[in-house]
Symmetry: C2
Subunit: 225 residues, 2 copies
Amino acid sequence: MNTSKKAVVLLSGGLDSATCLAIANELGFACYALSVDYGQRHSAELTAARNVAAAVAAELKTIRLDLRVFGGSALTDDIDVPEAVGEGIPVTYVPARNTIMLSLALAWAEVLGAGDIFIGVNAVDYSGYPDCRPEFIKSYEQMANIATKAGVENNRLSIHTPLIDLSKADIIRKGTELGVDYRLTVSCYQADHGGRACGVCDSCRIRASGFKEAGVSDPTRYQPA
Amino acid sequence: MNTSKKAVVLLSGGLDSATCLAIANELGFACYALSVDYGQRHSAELTAARNVAAAVAAELKTIRLDLRVFGGSALTDDIDVPEAVGEGIPVTYVPARNTIMLSLALAWAEVLGAGDIFIGVNAVDYSGYPDCRPEFIKSYEQMANIATKAGVENNRLSIHTPLIDLSKADIIRKGTELGVDYRLTVSCYQADHGGRACGVCDSCRIRASGFKEAGVSDPTRYQPA
């Protein structure tokens, strides 16, 4: 294992990014976790990110970027979170979110001299989000190599998406194998301040059925009914 | 002129972006100016952005993003601003700055339903900056069309760089033709709180010789010696 190779890992505090961090760590990267506070409704995700980073002794930086300035999403606006998956692009889509997240990771990677960025995007459960697709990641990586010193100086900058083709159950199996403590993670769109999940939003339902399908007991802390 | 077509215009408060805004306005776009407060040393630029936007009655939004969290540049760190242009990539280069700026513009464009983004990058005076080159802009545009709803739904998203091949003198001539009040703008890396320029940094020297070469009287307000 090469522990000197640095990687920036985007960490939301959710199940996917926690697994992504565990994979980067297992591959021997010195991990630098980046959490973006883009004006979420609750800070439970950020607390979760702190706990998840601490569990693998990764340095964590949190950068605040209040995307509510622009509006346009159920996750940052004061509109209701939907409970059912519809057609096309979901209203929970945050405009240009992964483009922005990757750009912030790119800035830190340049400063660190890191050539690797990990992001826990998934094209299976989030097929309606344009910025979760493999063709987006490939195009972003090409751009990033032109945008940066690393690109100019002919080093390679790679964007890793180890979860992109995995089902939620596969992700949970992989993370469980690597010792991820999913009790620390928060996936719910409307978790309470203590990080307890609502159990009814899309994200909660996808998560719960993932544990069931993986045959792993679900450690999620739910709000009292 | 089609006044219903919206464009997001990145506006720093400097000479270049003020000219870029005037060009977008002249082309008939309904302009939405975006100013990013990325932890600059002085707020004079932000005041300048407000005044420049007001001059063409463009809506202005300012979004705060403290890139000092990452360090790595003379413009955001507490290191001295250099007074001479050296070889290669300048130390005043802010890591991934234009990538981040364009990503924020992209988010607002998505919310507005705008298909056009203007950025006043220039490859003549800033040849050492990887993210000021035409190949970067082209690659970013390709990525943006894959990253967004507009791309998925086959509308086009265009990144306009009307200044990219112009000399500073050409930019000043063009802006003067369009009635830009350059007295409102601040280019200096170390302007004082009132927006008065130092007169000695790279940016000041490039600006002053631009006015001279253009044969336009220089309205810049300088600090007392």
